[in-house]
């Protein structure tokens, strides 16, 4: 089969996006399609440019992992006007009347809500909590904050004593947690909006001899597997980006074969809560594909 699949992705630094692209590439190879990918370095303006650049090559489908939900609309619009079908992954276009064939994603609000609910149960429904946010204003930050807030409504005993941003960065999370622990010696748990930040928080706690501090994250990165086993961190919500990437290409193939109508509009993938109890049932590659295996 002859054809070109184009993908525009927010960045190629986060393992999440790397795995998603790996999944896409693998599926495209399997289907014998050419695969072009552009990474926007977390710049939504830049990403619109890249979408335009990809469209110049008239691909058969555009797989679109937008930098944020608001910017997504413009990319979709551009693709629509070029007559290229769009498969949105991870970020759903929030406005505009653009058409997408399907939206494949983790329900981030739900993932955060479930994770926090689990965490609050571990805390016995009361105690001090700190939240480490991702880059402020980014969709993942907004949705995960929202999910945690929803969980908090059911747990009046949980007191949020500190909210800081660590910009998805482990080292920044380390510093922020040091400071939070200084000001809040009674702190019991940290909700990191990503695994990297959960790890940074846990390492800061360990350094401050607070091994009892609970720390959870979202992503299910390979690095979390050992960390959970060792008790450094307690849980993570594993997403399935590799699989999402493969699905996106498979859907694209369906469109090319004229079977586009059979694709559901919304394909939420459940995130899996990984804790010490079930960690041995999974492999990192279940979530992040072969790339993850190399990283463990």
């Amino acid at each position: 089969q002859d054809g070109l699949i184009a993908a525009s992705v927010a960045d190629q630094k986060s393992l999440f996006y790397i795995a998603a692209v790996d999944g896409m590439r693998a599926a495209a190879e399997e289907a014998g399609l050419d695969f072009n990918v552009a990474s926007a370095n977390n710049n939504s303006r830049e990403q619109i440019s890249q979408v335009q650049n990809l469209l110049v090559q008239q691909p058969d489908a555009l797989l679109f992992i937008s930098q944020d939900s608001t910017a997504a609309a413009a990319g979709v619009k551009a693709a629509n006007s070029a007559g290229v079908p769009v498969i949105a992954v991870d970020q759903r276009p929030e406005s505009g009347d653009g058409d997408i064939v399907t939206f494949i994603a983790t329900d981030s609000v739900k993932a955060a809500r479930d994770l926090c609910t689990w965490l609050f149960d571990q805390m016995g429904g009361e105690g001090q909590l700190a939240i480490l946010k991702g880059v402020l204003g980014s969709t993942a930050e907004i949705q995960r904050t929202q999910g945690c807030n929803e969980a908090l409504e059911n747990y009046p005993g949980i007191e949020v004593v500190a909210i800081q941003t660590a910009n998805w960065d482990e080292n920044e999370a380390f510093r922020a947690t040091q400071n939070i622990l200084t000001a809040n010696p009674e702190l019991e748990a940290v909700f990191g909006e990503s695994d990297a930040m959960a790890l940074g928080a846990a390492k800061a706690a360990r350094e401050a001899s607070r091994d009892d501090l609970l720390s959870v994250g979202i992503d299910g990165f390979p690095t979390m597997f050992d960390a959970i086993r060792e008790g450094l961190v307690q849980a993570t919500m594993a997403q399935v980006p590799y699989q999402m990437g493969m699905m996106a290409v498979q859907d694209a193939v369906k469109i090319m074969n004229g079977e586009g109508d059979s694709i559901p509009e919304l394909q939420y993938q459940d995130a899996v809560l990984l804790t010490a109890e079930n960690i041995d049932e999974y492999e990192p590659s279940d979530f992040y594909g072969p790339a993850a295996a190399a990283m463990e």
Binding site: R45, I48, S49, A74, G137
Partner: protein
């Protein structure tokens, strides 16, 4: 520090007249006139033009899409906001300053605009004007701090950058705003003579500012101030007023860029534009301006803009691996700049 190699070599290659045209010599000969003309044309062709041409040739050879009309239009529309911001940044750099707040001003003025429009029902035209006003105001603060306040421009604009990016998040507590009026978002797809409106706007701004810098006394004084503020002051230029004006223009242009961005994305995001800072300054400097001030101009900046725009576009067309793209871009920038040096010698 690296003054323009261009101006330097220029100086070197043209001195015969100063030797020949002694007191006794008559009016300049024809060949001397020609040489002078050649000199002044050379002076007009600044920055790494050769580099740009080389890059373009390479890409049109490597990708069949590069020279298509659609792609060329894309390139132009893709560089619009950066270009508009770069005009302001170039002016600031010309007077020997720097403006780190340019990206954050984009975010703040866009958010204030969208917030007034959505949450207070302010008519969009007015909320946009307020957005522009915010940009100008931040520029004013930058200008006043770095003149009367005697704070280094780097520090002053670092502070306003920080403050603006925080405020941009604060107005809507980090949430994005979507849904601008249709006539406004329509501007993003408006074509005039087949050219995108936003690109024409950018080119228009470049032309007006180039005209100002070349033909208006105030504009011309920017070179004097950048060359030596004391010399400019003693020559009767109100250097403080001009400097403040320049920062205000830079802020205003950033706000204009925010409108272009808002129309294109049909949304306002509190981090919009923030990561463009380095690209904006890079465009100006690649175009031949020196951060020491006093050299550079609109033509050079435009060439710098095209170099960055073409490089990014071409990489995407060629499907270079995303991790390697920055490597290739880094190398290409150096080659583009060095090509120019070599030929200038």
């Amino acid at each position: 520090m690296g003054r323009q190699g261009n101006a330097m070599s220029h100086a070197k290659s043209n001195t015969d007249e100063s030797v020949k045209a002694g007191r006794n010599s008559e009016a300049p000969t024809g060949s001397e006139r020609l040489a002078a003309l050649g000199g002044s044309v050379l002076r007009q062709v600044p920055g790494p033009l050769i580099g740009l041409i080389a890059v373009c040739i390479a890409f049109s050879w490597m990708s069949p899409y590069f020279l298509t009309e659609r792609n060329l239009i894309n390139i132009f529309s893709q560089i619009s906001e950066i270009g508009i911001m770069a005009v302001g940044a170039a002016l600031v750099i010309l007077i020997g300053g720097i403006d780190l707040s340019v990206g954050a001003v984009v975010a703040l003025s866009l958010m204030v605009n969208a917030w007034l429009y959505r949450d207070f029902g302010v008519p969009f035209v007015f909320s946009s004007l307020v957005g522009l006003g915010v940009g100008a105001l931040v520029g004013l603060v930058n200008g006043v701090l770095s003149t009367y306040g005697r704070v280094q421009p780097f520090v002053a604009t670092l502070a306003t950058m920080s403050a603006c990016s925080g405020l941009a998040l604060y107005v809507t507590n980090g949430g994005p705003v979507t849904g601008f009026p249709d006539w406004f978002t329509g501007l993003a797809s408006l074509r005039i003579f087949g050219l995108p409106f936003e690109s024409l706007l950018m080119v228009g701004i470049f032309l007006i500012v180039a005209w100002w810098l070349t033909f208006r006394p105030t504009g011309r004084s920017l070179y004097a101030i950048g060359g030596s503020e004391e010399v400019a002051r003693l020559s009767g230029i109100n250097t403080r007023a001009v400097k403040i004006l320049v920062y205000v223009i830079a802020g205003l242009l950033a706000a204009v860029a925010s409108l272009v961005l808002g129309a294109r994305l049909d949304s306002a995001h509190p981090t919009a534009g923030i990561s463009d800072l380095l690209s904006v300054i890079a465009v100006v400097v690649i175009g031949g301006a020196s951060l020491a001030g006093g050299s550079g101009g609109m033509l050079g900046t435009f060439i710098g803009l095209l170099i960055i725009g073409v490089l990014r576009n071409g990489m995407a067309l060629l499907n270079v691996s995303p991790n390697l793209q920055p490597v290739v871009i880094g190398i290409a920038i150096i080659i583009a700049v060095m090509l120019d040096r070599k030929t200038a010698n």
